[in-house]
Symmetry: C2
Subunit: 296 residues, 2 copies
C-alpha cells in the first residue's frame, strides 16, 4: 500500500466515523440499545472501501468533501445493515465481524434485525435531506442508484442466490452474476455516486462504470482466495465457510492459479478504463491494485 492510499484510507475512515457518530447520537429513551447496536456495527471498523471509492471519484470532479462525506456514509450504512442481517443465525450465523462480536451476539437477534432495518431507512433519509445535496435531482438520482444496487436486483438478490448456492451447483456464469449482484452492485454504486455528485451525465460515466465492474469482480475473486488462504485473526471473521457449505466459488471453479491470473487481468482492465483521466485518477488506480493485496 502506498503512502497516498494509506492516508486516503485513514482520512475517509475518520470522516465516516465522524458522520456516523453525529448521525447516530444515542437518545435517552427506550431506543438507546437500538442506537448502541447501530453504532457497534457502524463505527470503528472495516476498510471503508465503498466510501473511499465515492471520495476518490467525487474528488476527480472537485466535489465539496462535506457533501461527499454524507453520501459516502449513507452508502456505507447500507453495507453495514447488510452485514448485520447476513450475520444473523438464520442467515450465515456468524459470531465475529471486523474483529468484534456480531450485533446479535451482543444485543440479541430482535435488536439486530431492527438495527439493520434502521440503518437501511436512515441511509435513504440522510440522502433525501437537503444537507446531502442542494439539488433535489442529484438527491433522487443518488437514492435511485442506492436502492437499485441494494434490492432484489442487487445486493439482497445476490445474497438470496448465495443461499441457493448451498443447495445447487452453480456454473461460472451464475457465480459471476451472483457476485456482480451481491458485492459488485454496491461497489458500482459507490463509484457512480461520485460521478452523480460530480454532475457527470450518464453517458459520460461509462469508463467509471467499467472500472467499477472490474474492481468489483476482482475484489470478490480476491475474497474467495482470502477465504481459503487467509488468517482468521487478520480477517476479523470466520473463514473457510464456503468450503464447509460445499458452495461453488471462483476458486473451486477456476483453481488458484487461474483465479490469481483473472484477478490481475481485471485490475489491469480496470486501470485501462481510466486512460482518459490524468494523475487526478491515481487514487482510483491505487485502489484497484490494493484490492487484490488486502487482508481485510
Amino acid at each position: 500500500m502506498t503512502a497516498t492510499l494509506k492516508d486516503a484510507l485513514g482520512e475517509v475512515a475518520a470522516a465516516v466515523d465522524r458522520q456516523f457518530d453525529l448521525l447516530l447520537a444515542v437518545p435517552q429513551d427506550p431506543r438507546a440499545d437500538l442506537y448502541h447496536a447501530m453504532r457497534h456495527a457502524a463505527i470503528g471498523g472495516g476498510k471503508r472501501l465503498r466510501p473511499l471509492l465515492t471520495f476518490a471519484t467525487a474528488d476527480l470532479f472537485g466535489v465539496d468533501r462535506t457533501v461527499t462525506a454524507r453520501v459516502a456514509t449513507a452508502i456505507e450504512a447500507i453495507h453495514v445493515y447488510s452485514l448485520i442481517h447476513d450475520d444473523l443465525p438464520a442467515m450465515d450465523d456468524d459470531d465475529m465481524r471486523r474483529g468484534k462480536p456480531t450485533v446479535h451476539k451482543v444485543y440479541g437477534e430482535s435488536t439486530a434485525i431492527l438495527a439493520g432495518d434502521c440503518l437501511h431507512a436512515l441511509a435513504f433519509e440522510w440522502l433525501a435531506e437537503p444537507e446531502a445535496h442542494p439539488d433535489p435531482f442529484v438527491r433522487v438520482e443518488l437514492i435511485g442508484c442506492l436502492a437499485a444496487s441494494s434490492g432484489p436486483s442487487g445486493m439482497a438478490g445476490g445474497q438470496m442466490m448465495d443461499l441457493e448456492a448451498e443447495k445447487t451447483s452453480f456454473d461460472l456464469a451464475t457465480v459471476t452474476r451472483l457476485q456482480a449482484m451481491k458485492t459488485g452492485a454496491l461497489i458500482a454504486c459507490a463509484v457512480e455516486a461520485g460521478a452523480i455528485l460530480g454532475r457527470v451525465p450518464p453517458e459520460g460515466r461509462r469508463p467509471l462504470r467499467g472500472y467499477a465492474r472490474d474492481i468489483g469482480l476482482a475484489f470478490q475473486i480476491a475474497d474467495d482466495i482470502l477465504d481459503v488462504e487467509g488468517d482468521e485473526a487478520l480477517a476479523g471473521k470466520a473463514l473457510r465457510k464456503d468450503e464447509a457449505a460445499g458452495k461453488e466459488t471462483f476458486l473451486t471453479l477456476l483453481g488458484l492459479d487461474r483465479a490469481r491470473e483473472q484477478t490481475a487481468m481485471l485490475v489491469d482492465q480496470a486501470i485501462d478504463h481510466l486512460r482518459g483521466y490524468g494523475p487526478e485518477a491515481d487514487l482510483l488506480r491505487e485502489i484497484a491494485r490494493y484490492i487484490t493485496e488486502r487482508d481485510r
Copy 2:
C-alpha cells in the same frame, strides 16, 4: 361501513394488488423464491388502510390516480416489509398473518429476512423512478417522508420500544409515544404523501396532519381493544399476545370504558380537523369512523 367506503376499499385493494403484481414479476432464476415470498406477503391481503388514506387525500387535490397508485403501493410495501420482519421467530414469532401462514413459515427465515429487506429497498426504488412523479422535488419529498416515518424515529423505533415494553412497565405517555411511532408515523406519512402529490405546501398540511395523528392513535386504541375482544379467525392472526407478554397497552392503562371514550373523542377530533374541506373530504371522514369499527 357505507357503500362509498366499501367501494373505495375494493378499488384501492385492486389497484395495489395490480401494482404489486406488475412490480414483483417473478424472474426465472435462483431468486424465484424471494419474489414468491414477497408476493405471498404483499398481494391479496390486508385492508390497505394506508393506500386508502393516500388515495383519499390525493383525490382531494385531483392527483392523477396512476401516480397515486404507485406511491400508495410503495408505502404499503414498507408496511408489508415491517409485518414480515415483526412476525419472525426472533421478533413476535407469529405463525399467521392476514389469514395465511407467515412468510418464514412458508419460505424459511432467511428468505423472510431478505424478502423484507427487498420490499424495503424496492419502496424507495419505486419512488425514485420518474414513473412515481415527473418532478424530482416531489419524489425526494415522498422518499424523505417515508424514510423518516419508517426508521428509528418512526415505525422501527416504535417496534424497538414495543420489545422493551415486555421488560419495563411503561406509563400512558410512553405507550402513546410508542404507538405514535410504531403505527402512527406510517399512517401519517400515507396522508402526507397525498398532500405532497397534491402540491400542498408544508404550512397548508396542518389540518391533514392533525387528522392523521388522531386517526393513528384511534386506530391503535381500537387495535388494543380488538386484541382483547376480537375473534382470531376474523382477525386472521393470533390475538391476546400483549396480555400474555404482560405489556402495558391503552386498555390496561385506561380500562375498556375510557379506551372506548378516548377512541370516539379522537374520531370526532380527526373529523373536526377537516372542517375547512367540503364534501370532497367525506371519504376521509368515513375512514375515521370506520377505524373504530373494523374487525381487521
